[in-house]
Amino acid sequence: MKELLVERLSKIYFDPDRGERIAALEEVSLRIAPGEFVAVVGPSGCGKSTLLNLIAGFLEPTSGRILLDGRPVRGPGPDRGVVFQSYALFPWKTVLENVAFGPRMRGLPKAECHAKAMRYLELVGLAHVAHRYPRELSGGMQQRVGVVRALANEPEILLMDEPFAAVDAQTRMTLQEELARIYEERRPTILFVTHDVNEAVFLADRVLLLSKGRLREEIPVPIARPRRWPRLVEDDDFKALVARTLSAVRAA
């Protein structure tokens, strides 16, 4: 796992209808240390998805640069694993083939890819649906597959774009706990984008507040791990941090 460095990153769009330039992201700088879990929160339209898409290489920045382990990022690549809000599983591939896709694209022998995919599916208790198709699974299960598909490719950083926004509240809490557990066991580097302040504080070591394309505030989360919901809902530090972050979001 390597360090991610974002330096004065801007993304400016030209809106032909209004005839003016719109800054989706303005002079954003940040650093994510190896093994760190950073969440970015902010209201919709604040530029948090733009930031993630720039780091993923799906968009070209207008100015500024992104360095992963000192190397500038150009276009999408397997060093940055992405988990999408809409899961983005390949519907014509089985769960196993979806998870084995990354290793296969990187040239590993088929048997090895499948064995590896199976190990990762076991990690989230989904080995029993390995040969099903994504559409046969619930939303929560599909996103578990989405997460392990990214993990199985062993990226240097995991980029998660509101991954749990599309599932029901109950499942969301389970998925958050599962991600917390995986993080505690393996310590991947994670950049997690969300509009849910509870989620951000629950998961991250550090919460960054983005508003109108600018980074407004940085809130450290010094809450001990392992983090589980039954304990944290009672925890005064957690409640105070959520309240503080929430008021910062609303003020921004």
Binding site: G81, L89, G102
Partner: protein, 265 residues
Amino acid sequence: MERLAARWLWFVEHWPRAAVFAPFVPLLLSWWAVAEIEIFPPAFFPHPLEVLRRGVELAYKGVLGAYLEDSVLRLAVGAAAGIAVGLPLGLLVGLSDRAHRTLWPLLLFFQAIGDIAWLPILLVWFGFGLTTMTFVIVYTVMFPVLMNTALGVRAVPEVLPRAALSLGASRARVILEVVVPGALPNIVTGIRNGLGFGWRALVAAEIIVGTSGIGFMMFDARRAGSVTEVVIGLVVLGVLWSIVDSWILAPLERATGERWGLVAR
């Protein structure tokens, strides 16, 4: 009558594909009735039994089989060529914005010119022969395949190629593993439509250009004044296409659509 209905139900249950023929029963009965009371002279309006008798006779002589083989072979060769041209072009137009901008207006223009409309000039260029017929079929099959492929490529959700690229796939692998499978339901629809149009265009071409084939048989029969054989041709065309479409193409289209989660079951 009741026993007949029960039989039919048993039949359909054991061989569900036969259900395709059910709607034809009343049609056949009315044809029979009209022919039986001889509103029109039999030379104009043949009896279904006469059509059946003559059809069996032609099949027995090998004429029907040979003509059918000619027609189907022409369609198969033309369709294969049409797909071979239409599919890659469709991928190109679907994938590249520049190709889309430059080619789309041309495609719309040429698509609007019906296959048959080319016949006059094709006859001048290539004469009455196989080249002319093949051109018409390739042309007819190509456009639905091309247009639907391009449409399908553009309908693939943006996140899927993105996910593949982020998992380390090269551009070529993205096309092979994501774009083509993603567009497959549309591609199958294009092939289904293309073959349907191609089949009709073929018969038209055979009527005008032909030296053999079902279309030729029908037109030749008209010259000889045998309405029976014309009707045989009509029946063969309809039956053959119904079978190909409802037993092969439609299930294929449904299967891809379902698998891909595009069609709710």
